[in-house]
Symmetry: C2
Subunit: 330 residues, 2 copies
């Protein structure tokens, strides 16, 4: 009898623990307010993961793509990669005395963004060439890793990798827990993101799609290296997003998450597939806790994509009302 | 007592079954003869998967890259994608009466490969443009899927997807069972491979790296499509292999498998990383069961890579002596 009782006791404990666990697991998105946005996300995930349902999607087709700047982390007052570029100009300036008197470097050194912008595309390519090219891929990885470990956001005074959106981190984890493969599809540099996306977002290097410059295979002291060249290889923005998705992933996403006009074609491409689909835009409406911007913004302009979202019923996050918190706790 | 005896019996059955299973599992590479080649493969896998060992490699870094033509499937008497191109010229000829009298199409229609070759790169680009471009990515996928389902190898009289090497299929599965992520890194067209690599090799579309042409995002009848353009995007061969690996995978492989000079840089790039490494070349030495070719071959030329393999101690498969069978049973 004693044995039976022990077993009953153990079973009872197990049942209680299961209930506790179930309770703890009922809300996979605790930083999202209980609004229609959150309900739409959960309804989609439950629909596509329910076996036997007409909306069921097999695991190997559960592909979700996320823009990065403004969707997963802050993109104001400028793209983080631009802040990196400005910082690197300052770090490298002692070796390049001519930069003190030559645009766009002079502007970068003086923090005069207007002067940098005045140099147009030619100036941006010069900056890109000086800061992003001329070293091996391994060297660039070290440069990015070192910078991102110490640089801080000017307003939030915390590392850029802590200026990521807590609700979106939960969404990434929630999708993965439901069999989704989560990809980043960003206009940002692929080699600027890969060194830290796994640690910060749980997205490994091979699931990061981004813009790139060309590389050249060379032997240096008998060892092969990939030298980064001052030449654009691929711009993963606007039309480039569906092109990049097709090129890198080779399958169409069933869910796509963005925040600007640069994501519009990715969402259209996702929407045009068969079966259940989910398209979401993050609308920055929270000047107090983060930023409020859309149609007129220099970074992350959201204009035609917002019109299309409204016309087609895509889900739009109202950051101020849908998110309980913006950033992870320090 | 009866209950205890039953339990003992069940346990005994379980032990016997475990032993049977263990027996069945002792040889993960049954189509490989017990030569030094097989021993080198097994020794490498055991070394990098043994926790606590100085050679241990964490799962997320267990990346293995495989060439396709001549490494995973037959590449003689011509690359399969070239056979596809010739077949498609014949299928489409009724719509293009001029092809009967114009090279390289005339040669393709008459099976006159010398005439096709005489047109050089210009002719090959014309063929590529006519057969691989001018349709959407979805349409091209359907064309490839239909062709590969019915086309047969001229000598072996079986579908091309059955002209894959059984020992290499076992190797792919063995590596995956040991936590490796297996990639294809081929000079062949990425969109020519992706429709069938998962079914045939267990390699999903996102783990296929290959050559590509450019695509254009367009709206057709209000639906977005990716149109295939007659313009090279990327050639994933020779230097292109490490470049493609860096671009698509973003991490360096610890094991690489090839069979020709086109794979040499991929193997060099793999060898140059830190820690345990494995580089293997398939040497086609079996004219009876498959083909024998190396330094003089038009397809899959193996010359400088063989010298480098010998000089650096890379593993070289002697197909005739290392492989018990070549193809899977029909």
């Amino acid at each position: 009898m004693r044995g039976v009782r022990s077993r009953q006791f153990v079973c009872a404990v197990f049942v209680v623990l299961s209930l506790v666990c179930a309770q703890a697991q009922t809300d996979p998105l605790p930083s999202w307010n209980d609004t229609s946005t959150k309900k739409a996300i959960v309804a989609f995930v439950e629909k596509v993961t329910k076996e036997g349902s007409s909306n069921f999607v097999p695991v190997d087709q559960r592909i979700a793509t996320f823009d990065n700047d403004g969707t997963l982390w802050v993109e104001q007052p400028m793209y983080t990669q631009l802040a990196f570029t400005m910082d690197r100009v300052k770090q490298l300036a002692p070796k390049h005395p001519a930069w003190k008197t030559t645009q766009p470097f002079k502007g970068a050194l003086e923090g005069d963004m207007k002067a940098v912008e005045a140099t147009g595309e030619k100036g941006l390519v010069q900056l890109m060439a000086a800061i992003h090219a001329g070293m091996t891929t391994d060297q660039f990885q070290t440069i990015v890793t070192d910078w991102i470990a110490t640089a801080k956001h000017p307003r939030f005074k915390r590392p850029y990798t802590h200026c990521v959106y807590q609700p979106m981190l939960e969404l990434l984890a929630y999708l993965r827990a439901n069999g989704f493969k989560t990809y980043i599809v960003s206009g940002g540099g692929i080699e600027f993101m890969r060194p830290w996306t796994e640690r910060v977002y749980g997205v490994p290097p091979e699931q990061v799609v981004g813009s790139s410059i060309k590389t050249k295979y060379e032997m240096v002291d008998g060892k092969p290296v990939l030298m980064r060249l001052p030449e654009i290889n691929f711009i993963d923005d606007n039309d480039g997003k569906p092109i990049g998705i097709n090129q890198y992933i080779g399958s169409r996403p069933i869910a796509a998450f963005g925040n600007s006009d640069g994501d519009q074609q990715m969402l259209e491409w996702t929407a045009a597939g068969d079966g259940a689909r989910f398209m979401l835009l993050v609308h920055h409406t929270d000047a107090e806790r983060e930023y409020a911007y859309d149609r007129q913004s220099k970074f992350g302009k959201l204009d035609t994509a917002l019109d299309e979202a409204n016309a087609k019923g895509w889900t739009v996050v109202d950051m101020k009302n849908d998110w309980k918190v913006i950033f992870p706790p320090e």
